[in-house]
């Protein structure tokens, strides 16, 4: 299955959701430092809008991606799904997960400071704080996704 965690920018909520999905973060609320040191956190630019970035494979073999849709959320989702379907990928092999709901005022403000005003240090910390504030809801969503992706049963031995 292909799983896409999407948001306006892929830099914050999708990065955290994907990290939890792949086991990089546990269900307990992570520290600011843990969030800020996630790969791809606060890295994407407008030039990355629309391009899914593969961040890993979970223990069931599902491919996990992060995707920033920019100002064209519905259109990017439809373009992605319809193109993949033309290539023979079926509907049940795809999961597009909207993480926009976890973009709270702290994350937005942090993103603005870090990406637009160049205040990287305080901006990243604020964005990470925003992720911490949404953490329990984000975990609940990812757990639902994992259930859909067959990760709720006994895990495969990957050793």
């Amino acid at each position: 299955m292909l799983i896409f965690y999407c948001c306006y920018e892929q830099s914050y909520a999708p990065v955290a959701a994907a990290a939890f999905h792949l086991g990089g973060l546990g269900p307990g609320c992570p520290s600011l430092q843990e969030v800020m040191s996630l790969p791809y956190f606060d890295q994407a630019t407008a030039a990355d809008f629309g391009i899914p970035l593969r961040v890993g494979q979970d223990v069931n073999g599902n491919e996990v991606f992060i995707l920033g849709h920019g100002p064209a959320r519905d259109l990017v989702e439809r373009a992605l799904v319809s193109t993949l379907r033309h290539c023979g990928v079926t509907e049940d092999e795809l999961l597009v997960v909207r993480a926009d709901q976890f973009l709270n005022a702290w994350t937005r403000l942090g993103g603005l400071l870090a990406r637009s005003l160049g205040l990287v240090g305080p901006g990243r910390a604020l964005a990470a704080y925003g992720i911490r504030c949404s953490w329990q809801r984000l975990v609940a969503l990812v757990q639902q996704v994992q259930k859909q992706a067959g990760l709720d049963g006994p895990q495969k031995d990957v050793g």
Binding site: I51, A72, D74, L75, V76, R78, A79, L80, H86, C87
Partner: protein, 149 residues
């Protein structure tokens, strides 16, 4: 190779250009009825924007598609290319923006028919506008063909 004709809504200029490319619309177009009868002409709604629609295969084996991209063609082009790579397919695609050939009559008719749902008022206008835009669209298709043959 894949050729994607795209415009704002994917309902008029991109449909007509794809039809010209595939020979569904014989040039010179002498009747507005032929335009109105094209598959997908003045059919797509806002919910279809962003979707890739297969329109046919030309005599060189190129697949011809239409797409409505609203104002986000630059983003959607990246998405389509990335999705093809993801599926293990070649991303040799030609994106052809047909919006440059759209005239005022098409814009007004398209807005009335697709956005406001006033089909009986908008469709005759957009058909008339498309009829007038055919030479420009045909030139666009000719250039696209030159790049793909």
């Amino acid at each position: 190779m894949r050729i994607i004709y795209h415009c704002y809504g994917g309902a008029h200029s991109s449909v007509t250009a794809a039809a010209i490319h595939l020979g569904f619309l014989t040039l010179p177009v002498t009747s507005e009825v032929a335009i109105q009868a094209l598959p997908y002409f003045d059919k797509h709604t806002g919910r279809d924007q962003g979707k890739l629609f297969f329109y046919g295969r030309d005599q060189h084996g190129n697949e011809v598609y239409i797409m409505g991209c609203a104002r986000s063609a630059h983003i959607l082009e990246r998405t389509v290319r990335a999705a093809l790579r993801l599926a293990g397919e070649e991303d040799d695609i030609l994106f052809v923006n047909t919006l440059k050939s759209v005239n005022l009559l098409m814009r007004i008719g398209g807005f009335l028919s697709r956005r406001l749902g006033w089909v009986s008022l908008g469709r005759p206008l957009v058909v008339k506008g498309t009829f007038r835009a055919v030479p420009r669209l045909a030139a666009l298709v000719r250039r696209a063909r030159e790049q793909t043959c």
